[in-house]
Amino acid sequence: MPSMTPASASVDVIAAPPAPRRRMGRGVRRFVRHRLALVGFGIIVVLVLLAGLGPYVSPFNELTIDIRHRFGPPFSGAHVLGTDQLGRDMLTRLEMAGRISLTVGCAAMVLSTLTGTVVGVLAGYYGGVIGSVLMRIVDAMLCFPSIFLLLALAAFVQPSLLSITVIIAATGWMEVARLVEAQVRALRDRDFAVAALALGAPDRMIMFRELIPNAVAPIVVAATLNVARAILLESYISFLGYGIQPPVPSWGNMLNNAQEYLTSAPWLAIFPGAAITLAVTGFNFLGDGLRDALDPRLDVR
C-alpha cells in the first residue's frame, strides 16, 4: 500500500478562479499555433461563404442554358470562370454544387458520427455478448470495399440528396464505432467511472455524461476526417452517375460531364476538381488542428 504520498499542493487552497472561458482560450491558442489548421479553417470558411452567398450575388442562374456562349474560357467576358458545354455559368454552378457537396458531406458526417458513437459506446461499455456481436457487425461491414457497397446500394435506391447522404453515412460509421469502443473500454475502468457506479448512476448517465465527454477529442477529429471522406464519396458516385442527377450540379457530376471535353475545355474539369481537393484538404487540416486543440496535455509545452 502506498504510504502517504503527499498531494501536489501542500496547502488546502483554491487554484485560479473562473474556469470555462480560460479552458476555451487555451484550446483556441493550441489551435492557432497549428498553422495548417488555420489554413484549413480559412479554406472551409471561404468555400462555405461562396456556396452560401455566391449564387445571390451572381447575375446568372446555374440552370439557364445559353447555347450561343458555350465553352466560354475563363476570365473572358461576363462569365468569370467560363461556361460549360451548354453555356451555363461555371462559377454559379460550382457554388450551387458546393452547397450540395458540403451539405451531403456534413450531414453524412453527423449521421455516421452519431451512429458510430452510439454503437461504440454500447459495445465498449457493456462488453461481453453485446459488445462482441456489435463489433463483429462492424468488422463485417468493414470487410466490404466501401465503393462497392456504395455502388451496390446506390443501384437499388432512387438517388436523392437524402438517400445519398444515408448511403454515405452507412459506409462511414464503422471507424467511429471502433474508435469509440476502444476509448470507452479504457475509460470504463477509470476511477471516476467506478465512482459514478458507486453513486448509483444509471448506465446511460455513465455512458453519455461521464465517458463520452472524455472521448470527445478523438470523436471530433474522426468527424472532420469523415466530412472529407463523405465529400469524396459523393463525388465518386456522382461521377459514376449514381449520385446527384443532372441538371442539378454537384462537384462530382460536373467532373463527370467534363471528361468528354478534357482536351478541348479543360477548365470544366479543373475547377470542380480543385474545389474537391480544397474542401478535402481543408477538412483534413482542420481535423489535425482540432486534435491538438482538444488535447489539454499539449499545454505543458
Binding site: 500500500m1 503527499p6 483554491i14 448509483g200 448512476a201 465527454p213
Partner: protein, 331 residues
Amino acid sequence: MTEPVLEVSGLSVRFRTDAGVVPAVNDVSFVLKRGETLALVGESGSGKSVTSLAVMRLTPAPPGCEVRGRATLSRVGELLSLPEAQMREVRGSRIAMVFQEPMTSLNPVLPIGEQIAEPLRYHRGMARAAALREAAKLLELVGIPEPGKRLASYPHQLSGGMRQRVMIAIALACDPDVLIADEPTTALDVTVQAQILELLKALQARTGMAMLFITHNLGVVAEVADRVMVMYAGRVVEQAPVRELFRAPLMPYTRGLLRSVPKLAPLEALGAPLTAIPGNVPDPANLPGGCAFAPRCADVRKVVCEAELPELDAVGAEHLVRCVRWRELAA
C-alpha cells in the same frame, strides 16, 4: 449509538483466476451502528477493500468472482441478493463511498457543480437548477469558500484536499446512512489529512451516519475510529474498541502493527530501530494451513499454531481475537 445500520455476516469473496480460486475474503462478520465509526485495518491484500466493494456489490461479475454471505442494511434488507436495479437506488443514496484518489475519482471534463448535482438528480429526481442550488449548499457544508463560484470549476483547478472535499460532498449529497471511506486521506498531505478527518467527524456528528473507515494508517485509526477490526489474509484476526486495542492488543499481528508505527520518543530513545514485521503477506491463493500469520509470528508455537485455523474467540463483550495462544500472551 445502539441501532445497527449495517450487519455483515459470513461474507466470503472468491476470485477465479488462471492460477486457481483465490479466496480474497473469508467469513467476515461485523455490525455497524448508527453514528459510529468502524475502522478496517490491514496490509495490502488483506481483503479490506474487497470487503467494502462486496458490500457495495461492485466486485466483478459472477463467473470471475463469487460473493457469499449476508449484508443487511436497515430499512432496505439484504443487499447481496437485491436485484441490480434496486441496488442502484441504494448506492449513493443509502450507502455511499469515498475513494482513495481524489485526483482520479472526479470526472476531469465536468464542472464539479454538475458532478455534485448528479446523484441528487437521479436519486431525488431534482431538476437541474434545484440540484445545483443544493450542490452549492453541500460545498459550503464541506468547507469550500465561495461555493456559488466554485460550482463552475473543473477538478484540475482544485487542490488535492479540495477535491477530496468535493468527493465527500458528492457522497453525502443524498444523506446516506452508511459512508464507506476507502483510505480517503492516504493520497493527501498530513495537514490536509487532519482537516479531512475533522470534516468527516463533524459531518458524522451532524448527520448520524455510520462510517466504515478503511485504512492502513494506525494514526488515522486513533483519530477517527470507535471500534477497530484488523484483517489479515482475508480474515478478521482481532476486533476491539479503539482504546482497548491500542492499550492491550492480543493478536501478535496487531501488536506487530502497533510496534511498527513511528512514535515521538524521548530523546535518549532516538535512533532505536522500528520493529518491522518480518516477511510478507502470504499469497491468498496458497494460504498456510492453520493460522495464516504463523510463518511471520514471533510468538509462534510450531505444532499448535500450524495445526488448524484458530477460532475467533470472545475476550470480552466487544473484543474478539483469532489466536490459539492469546490467553498465554495476555498474561
